[in-house]
């Protein structure tokens, strides 16, 4: 029980930090349109108002809803409290382009698609990349190391979305092996039948590959350096001179180098997610990237903001899970807090 104390405390602190950050993110969403000169939201309202005068009742309704949600006429702090309390309860406002549908209704069905692409591809890339990088670092100067490093350097700097275009062009258009886009075939209804799952995986392959290939490069580069550092550490040189067998040495180096890579996982999820959103657009994949793109092309600000808030929340949940794993495998965390 005593040993569990610092562990729980660490997790609690992480949770508090993530919550504070989440509120900051919402605050940024609130402040941005109000700080930018020419207030884009107000501009949108004026535009809608002019359209409403031209004719239909429908636009007047949109206008009224927006006026209320934006809090026109209320003092800033009241607007902020409203916005924050709504956002924390999951009410992200009403879409303009898809009026009268709520933003959350539009985003919710897209989240499983995005998470279903993000998490498996990130984990796969993490495992493959770290393994390749560790072996490369251990076999310094070999042909294997040189190949892994060069290929990783190029892959890691390739934009996901361009790789996505190449994959579509080669494997879907030229070779006709995979579909050119979409989450599943037209006419199929999402269900748990083998037929649908096979179709799903068939559509999944190219988007999955486009993310894994790029991400593998980054992990391999990082891991190679970490292992080389580790091999140069005093304890390693000492063990080597003691005649500890090679496989054991490799295992020491690998284990110790993995820790920073776990921390890196939390950070990389965010940047992978950013790239993935654009990849989804290239593939017409029914994830949040696609929703975001529709929001952007119609300047549907409530929808754009909603996607931002939801994605940040999803990411923080993932970060917390990574923190949990990290705390489990790093005894130094418990030690550090026990001393403090």
């Amino acid at each position: 029980m005593v040993r569990l104390g610092p562990f729980a405390r660490y997790l609690l602190m992480r949770a508090a930090f993530l919550l504070a950050t989440y509120i900051t993110a919402i605050t940024i969403v609130f402040l941005l349109p109000r700080l930018i000169p020419g207030n884009p939201l107000a501009l949108l309202l004026t535009q809608l108002y002019q359209q409403a005068q031209a004719n239909p009742e429908a636009i007047k309704e949109v206008y009224k809803t927006l006026m209320e949600e934006f809090g026109v006429g209320k003092p800033l702090w009241e607007q902020y409290v409203d916005f924050l309390s709504h956002a924390l309860r999951g009410d992200l406002g009403t879409s303009i382009a898809f009026y009268p549908r709520k933003v959350i209704e539009l985003i919710a069905p897209a989240i499983p698609w995005t998470v279903g692409l993000l998490v498996p591809s990130t984990i796969t890339a993490w495992i493959i990349g770290n393994t390749l990088g560790a072996i490369a670092g251990y076999r310094r100067g070999s042909y294997f190391e040189k190949t892994v490093l060069t290929v990783s350097l190029i892959l890691s700097q390739t934009p996901y979305y361009w790789l996505a275009m190449l994959l579509v062009y080669i494997f879907a258009i030229k070779l006709n092996l995979f579909p050119a886009g979409g989450g599943y075939s037209y006419g199929l209804v999402p269900s748990l039948t083998p037929e649908f799952i096979a179709d799903l995986l068939w559509h999944y392959t190219l988007p999955f590959l486009s993310i894994v290939l790029v991400a593998v490069g980054g992990w391999a580069i990082g891991m190679r350096v970490l292992v080389i550092y580790e091999l140069g550490a005093d304890y390693m040189v000492f063990s080597e001179n003691l005649g500890v067998e090679e496989r054991k040495l490799f295992r020491y180096a690998f284990r110790n180098s993995l820790l920073p890579q776990v921390t890196g996982l939390a950070l990389s999820l965010g940047s992978v997610l950013g790239g993935q959103l654009i990849t989804e657009i290239v593939f017409n994949y029914p994830g949040t990237g696609y929703i975001l793109f529709r929001g952007l092309s119609t300047l549907d600000y409530p929808l754009i903001q909603g996607v931002f808030i939801i994605l940040v929340a999803t990411l923080f949940l993932a970060n917390f899970i990574v923190d949990f794993i990290y705390a489990l495998i790093d005894p130094r965390i418990r030690l550090g807090y026990a001393q403090a």
């Binding site: 020419g38 700097q157 550092y229 959103l277």
Partner: protein, 282 residues
């Protein structure tokens, strides 16, 4: 004598030579290319969607514009955005990271709180949000958006590097000698992480080039001119990759990868040469 030796060591490193040659080729393409091939990249004069031929070495797009002309000017634009992004991000990151690392205490806590909060929000998402509110986006605005959203990891890394150095003997000696914090930062600490700073710069330039392309594809790139990202956006809008118009979407991507990966190759090679912990033993 020291400098020629270093240059010699670098020039005998094959990876460095290949990387720097490739990067110089990209820079020359962007700087001199448009002068050697003075065709208006935005002129609708040509025929539609023509594959590469004698008159149009890289073909034309749906609007009858010359793809090669776009590629040359686009390379210049993208490099400019990349460098500017790096400049902005590193200025912010160095100041915050160094202040936190050298000062320590409350300053450190406060700055790191800001950094960690910003770091937790994915930079590209924040960039998308900011860009969506700006109706007119010049190249400088795009670079500023990318720079402002990408500095945190660097500030944290600088601080971490400085903290690990702080406990070394030579720092204690300098402190005992009564050096000021500023002198400590510039004479003892920052030179020790010079390679690290260079590698970070490479990452930021690449981040700027890739970020511009990413923003452009979803319609949030520069609102004027030509860039590699804008070329990809037009190609995406017209579904070039689904319709087999390879000459339209392949060249800008190849140019982006050439620019970014050559820089990565250079920085990796330099790290191998300068970083004592990476030198091969025996």
């Amino acid at each position: 004598m020291a400098v020629p030796t270093i240059v010699w060591v670098l020039l005998t490193n094959r990876r460095f030579v290949v990387g720097i040659a490739l990067f110089l080729a990209v820079v020359l393409t962007g700087v001199i290319g448009p002068l050697l091939y003075p065709v208006d990249p935005l002129s609708f004069a040509g025929p539609m969607e023509t594959p590469p031929c004698e008159k149009y070495p890289l073909g034309t797009d749906t609007y009858g514009r010359d793809v090669l002309a776009q590629l040359l000017v686009g390379t210049r634009t993208s490099l400019y955005v990349g460098f500017l992004t790096a400049l902005i991000a590193m200025a912010i990151g160095t100041v915050i990271g160094a202040a936190a690392g050298v000062k320590g205490g409350l300053v450190d806590e406060a700055l790191m709180a800001i950094t960690n909060v910003t770091l937790s929000i994915p930079s590209i998402l924040l960039a998308i949000l900011i860009a969506s509110y700006l109706k007119v986006r010049s190249l400088e605005v795009v670079a500023a958006i990318l720079g402002i959203t990408s500095w945190p990891w660097y500030a944290r890394a600088i601080r971490a590097q400085l903290l690990s150095l702080r406990e070394r003997e030579f720092i204690y000696l300098s402190r005992m000698a009564g050096y000021s914090d500023l002198r400590l930062a510039f004479e003892d600490l920052l030179p020790n992480i010079a390679t690290y700073i260079f590698m970070a710069m490479v990452l930021f330039i690449n981040g700027g080039i890739l970020g511009e392309a990413g923003l452009s594809i979803i319609g949030l790139g520069p609102t004027q001119g030509v860039s590699l990202g804008l070329m990809l956006q037009w190609a995406t809008l017209m579904e070039a990759f689904r319709r087999g118009l390879w000459w339209w979407f392949v060249p800008p991507g190849v140019m982006i990868v050439a620019a970014t990966s050559s820089l990565m190759i250079v920085s990796t090679a330099m790290d191998e040469v300068f970083n004592p912990r990476l030198r091969e033993r025996g």
